[in-house]
């Protein structure tokens, strides 16, 4: 038997970290996470249709500190998935595939996610006139 140097499959522990791989897995994680967000949206819509009492219960639950934390998580997920989704759609037009551009667009999405999520909550609290 001749023992050959065979190519090894990707070995995650020895891979150098790249922004592109984090963006890729986060698109999937946030997509599945937003599925849970859709569950919350359903609960809220049904509560509205059920009348003032059920609506008040839903608002108390969502407005609690834990509820707001969860909602903030969904905000980050949506803003990330939205920005990175546009990155995906741009790729689908056949552009932006060279590595420097992929890295640059990846970092752009990361910055936009942080700024966008904060902006949404600042706007919400500003309109509400406080915490």
């Amino acid at each position: 038997m001749v023992s050959q140097e065979r190519p090894l499959s990707p070995h995650l522990q020895v891979y150098r970290w790249q922004i592109t791989m984090t963006m890729s897995i986060l698109h999937r994680v946030t997509g599945v996470g937003l599925g849970l967000g859709a569950l919350l949206m359903t609960y809220w819509f049904v509560a509205i249709a059920s009348g003032p009492d059920d609506f008040a219960d839903a608002q108390d639950l969502i407005g609690s500190w834990l509820g707001r934390l969860v909602l903030f998580g969904f905000t980050i997920s949506l803003v990330f998935h939205f920005c990175n989704g546009i990155r995906h759609l741009f790729w689908d037009t056949g552009r932006g595939f060279d590595l420097p551009t992929m890295r640059a667009s990846g970092w752009t999405v990361a910055v936009m996610t942080v700024l966008g999520s904060i902006a949404i909550w600042v706007a919400g609290y500003a309109l509400r006139g406080g915490l």
Partner: protein
């Protein structure tokens, strides 16, 4: 170095030759959601601190109700297509994969219907 996969390989060659159909619908729903989700988030921001009457009147408005129905349809369709890929990627035992797909599709349908019926019942003054 280009990271591009030949599109010919991505399109139309999925299992059961359903790839192209699935791929296009995922993209079309994504494009629709770009606009609808911006509108929805802006609406939710403007509704922070609102009481029941205000939320009710918002949802009862025909334009809002129409946009909400579009949001619901595209969200759950996009979610169904997305979760289908995730399930097909990770579950390789045939019966478990088929069962998961059926349960997941059914859940998306039921949740989408619950959302749509809620909007419709408010819009028609239920």
């Amino acid at each position: 170095m280009s990271q591009r996969a030949p599109l010919a390989h991505a399109r139309g060659l999925g299992s059961a030759k359903e790839g192209a159909h699935h791929w296009w619908h995922q993209r079309l729903s994504a494009v629709a959601l770009v606009f609808l989700s911006i509108w929805f988030v802006v609406s939710l921001i403007s509704l922070t601190g609102a009481g029941y009457d205000q939320v009710y009147l918002w949802m009862a408005h025909p334009v809002v109700a129409g946009l909400l129905l579009l949001l619901v349809v595209f969200t759950f369709y996009h979610l169904k297509l997305g979760l289908q890929v995730v399930i097909e990627d990770y579950i390789h035992t045939e019966w478990l994969k088929v069962t998961s797909l059926v349960v997941m599709s059914g859940a998306c349908l039921v949740l989408g219907l619950a959302c749509a019926l809620s909007v419709v019942s408010i819009a028609f003054g239920g």
